[in-house]
Amino acid sequence: MISRKKKELLRMGLQSLLGYPMRTVLTMLGVVFGVGSVIAMLALGAGAEKELLQEIGRLGIQNIIINSVEPEQPENNSSSSSSRRGWINYYGLKFKDHRQIVETIPGIERVLPVHLSKKKAWNGSRWIESTLFAVEPDYFEVFGLEIASGRALSPQDEEDLARVCVVRSGLLQELGIYEDPVGYVLTIEDQKFTIVGVLSEDRFQGYAQKALVADARSSEIYVPYQTVLKRQGTRSFSGSAGSWEATDVELNQIVVEVEDLDQVILTSRTIENLLSRNHPEKDYEMIVPLEVLAQRRKTQQVFNIALVAIASISLLVGGIGIANIMLATVTERTREIGVRRALGAQKRHIIAQFLTETTTISILGGVLGIFLGFALVQILVIFTGWTAVITPISILVALTISVAVGITSGIYPARRAAALDPISALRHQ
């Protein structure tokens, strides 16, 4: 509980501030902008971290994703291909890899093979280029793909080699399917597939999109793995003007779910060893979300520290501004200090008065700065689309910093004021 005396001293300190409203506001501005930018920077940092977690978290931190990568062709290949009528580009992960992982790697929950192919999907005369994902039913669960309507692919579909598919609403729009899509029949290349489910409009973004080889338009079509393998095979052809090209990638992706989180990195090393023996030409890439997350987090933290450091410079400038104005105020109010000393103020009273003034300026500045920070964050979010999160901790940090700025910037001027000789202070013109 503050004593009545202290309240009176506080009130008197505030009265001095009110005596010079314009100066008080201008002095405050430095802190307002400083705190505002600290809040905004912390919010952007927290937002980026949240986005990162969401993005990479979608991949599942217990998963290891291995993608086939087309190896770089030697320079002379292009000239030799032109002399041939056609050739097969054969690379990437093999069924053997999948089998070996299942059979030899310990501590694995499940291993999902994925085959991808670019196919034209038709609805009457409308068509789009889509990516056909041949996946096992567990794929949906592993990557948290939610079904908005209908159902996901089932083991029964696999057994029956059923021509069914699950699509995204983006594809439906592009093909002009507006009525209930469940039960609708699409033509993919020359085969008819019945839509059994539609995924909710929650597309993969950024890193996750790249890692899962999803396209940006969300026109993926998910079909049973066995249906594609048994009915279509793994070879795909493309041709134009009399020449043709074929690509044969047995598996475009293998998703390994590790049982124990602590074993993810170790398992990834073991798989890497296995694959590097099978693929000396390195036609695959391995993505360990857990590792990526750790790396990205590290980078993000460095970035956050840099952002806050830059924002803190403006806060420091604000503090110097307060100290500067207060020093000028001490000179200007020397006579007042002399009068107060003559009337009985002790040195500590003078120090308290000036510290009250600087701390009030900085706390008020801090509070206004928080509002400014909120506004800045809103503006940034609207104009850039970045994610920003204002955490209670950042508000606490900003307020603590502004109080600290007030006190430190006030100490020197206050001590100078208190050290004034009352007699010469009274004579000051």
Partner: protein, 227 residues
């Protein structure tokens, strides 16, 4: 003979750290009894301002003793001197020394900030003092809105707020025209009439004669006392 409220014994004041030091007061002896109205006169450089600073506990003597209300105040700490100035001394300055951003009432309340009693407890007291100096209609005005005479009356009210042992007036009419000066002197007369002890520093012979006792200082020494 009543006990003196102020007793100065062999007061010397030197300025400067290195020889030759400036010797301003050269052995002042002065007693002031309760209820006296004393004027201290002297030319510029005679040491009267230094004496006023010592009497007001704004400074301490280099040598000699100063008893205020029977207590030796010549070698007190800075905080203790502040407390004495707050409780026992009422200052009236030539240039009023009011705080410009505060109102008349707040200016009068300033000494209360640094003492024991709170402003709220003494609010009525402050108002009645301002009433007694004829300023009850100016409570929320700021010094810049007042005339010189009114400012000095605020300063007098402020000096009275803690009911001090002595009132120290430094050229109280120096910044006023003669008519307003007369009004202020009349106010001081009436305070003396109420039994207050007043010490007034002036270079004006006519003003000095308002006091019941005149002390003349020259070159750091009391050279003449008349009453």
């Amino acid at each position: 003979m009543p006990q003196p409220i102020i007793s100065l014994e062999g007061i010397h004041k030197y300025y400067g750290e290195v020889e030759p030091r400036l010797h301003v007061l050269k052995g002042i002896h002065l007693d002031v009894t309760q209820g006296e109205f004393v004027s201290i006169m002297g030319t510029s450089g005679s040491g009267k301002s230094t004496l006023l600073n010592l009497l007001g506990c704004l400074d301490v003597p280099t040598e000699g003793s100063y008893l205020l209300g029977g207590k030796d105040v010549s070698q007190q700490s800075d905080d203790e001197l502040s407390r004495i100035r707050n409780e026992d001394i009422g200052f009236i300055f030539q240039s009023f020394q009011l705080i410009p951003q505060l109102t008349v009432l707040e200016n009068v309340q300033v000494p209360l900030l640094y003492g024991e009693s709170s402003i709220r407890e003494k609010e009525e007291h402050c108002r009645s003092i301002l009433d007694s100096v004829g300023l009850s209609h100016r409570l929320s005005h700021r010094p810049s809105q007042l005339s010189g005479g009114e400012c000095q009356r605020v300063a007098i009210a402020r000096s009275l707020v803690n009911d001090p042992l002595i009132l120290l007036a430094d050229e109280p009419t120096g910044n006023l025209d003669s008519k307003t000066g007369q009004e202020v002197l009349e106010l001081m007369d009436s305070l003396h009439g109420e039994g207050r002890t007043i010490i007034m520093i002036t270079h004006d012979q006519e003003v000095a004669l308002r006091a019941q006792r005149q002390v003349r200082i020259h070159d750091g020494l009391v050279i003449e006392e008349t009453s």
